[in-house]
Symmetry: C2
Subunit: 127 residues, 2 copies
DNA sequence: CTATAATACGTTCAATTGAACGTATTCGTA
DNA sequence: TACGAATACGTTCAATTGAACGTATTATAG
């Protein structure tokens, strides 16, 4: 499998918008960007083009305009991104990362509860 | 605060080795690298130099040889790295990331227990 | 109809990153 | 003492990435 080229940071940023919208034109993606980001129309165009040629998005010419949509499961791509990060930064050990998140950044009580529930579910499912 | 330049991937890889060893020469770092990584001595040298000029490491000339050591708290730097990732990829929401880790990758029973204990501790500490 | 606005697409450009070269020094050993 | 192995350090180089330009084309408001 010719492992497709990696997602650059700005590319992931835009891909996530397309994923969220389901499908999107250059204009729409630009509009979803935080105003403060200040990217040019042409720049967004370029990045979406790159995402397409890297195999992450597909494009459909609808009338006059290009409509981009996800080619691969966003879930899967996110998984790869996380995995890569985990490997590089924590030698693939999830636990230290989770502990980092838990301690360093204050998880709210809300979130802690939520998390414990998730873990319980997981234990159930495991048998 | 003149936010120091970001850590490139290979740089983080080497920085982590220096952190682990406490201090290290080019040679030592090279030796710690997985044989399969195949970096040249000169390349390691270059990266350590860059890490130093970016402010992450400090260097001390010991006899003939440069000894590198951490300049900033590794903990802090790791925190920044994680935070940056979290912001970029999960809009700063820790929970979705944790859930990704829990579900997508099989946490072992061992790790699940461990994690639950951590969460309990955290709840204790919180009052 | 015609000028303006919106697009697509090919191209460019600078900074960063991954990786190494070459040269000058120095150290240990034959 | 002369040589080869290690180093340091300045330099280089190609690929990738962030960002945009310029030109051609089309759609639309006057």
């Amino acid at each position: 499998m010719p492992k497709r080229p990696p997602l650059a940071k700005s590319e992931l940023e835009l891909a996530r918008i397309v994923w969220r919208l389901g499908e999107a034109t250059v204009r729409q993606v630009l509009d979803e960007l935080p105003r403060q980001r200040g990217l040019d129309f042409a720049t967004v165009q370029t990045y979406l083009r790159r995402l397409t040629s890297k195999g992450y998005l597909s494009v459909e010419q609808r009338g006059r305009t290009n409509v981009y949509s996800s080619r691969l499961e966003p879930r899967r791509v996110m998984g790869e991104v996380v995995r890569d990060f985990l490997d590089r930064v924590f030698d693939g050990q999830a636990l230290p990362l989770v502990e980092q998140l838990i301690n360093d950044r204050g998880l709210s009580d809300e979130e802690i509860e939520q998390l414990q529930r998730t873990l319980d579910e997981l234990k159930e499912r495991k048998r």
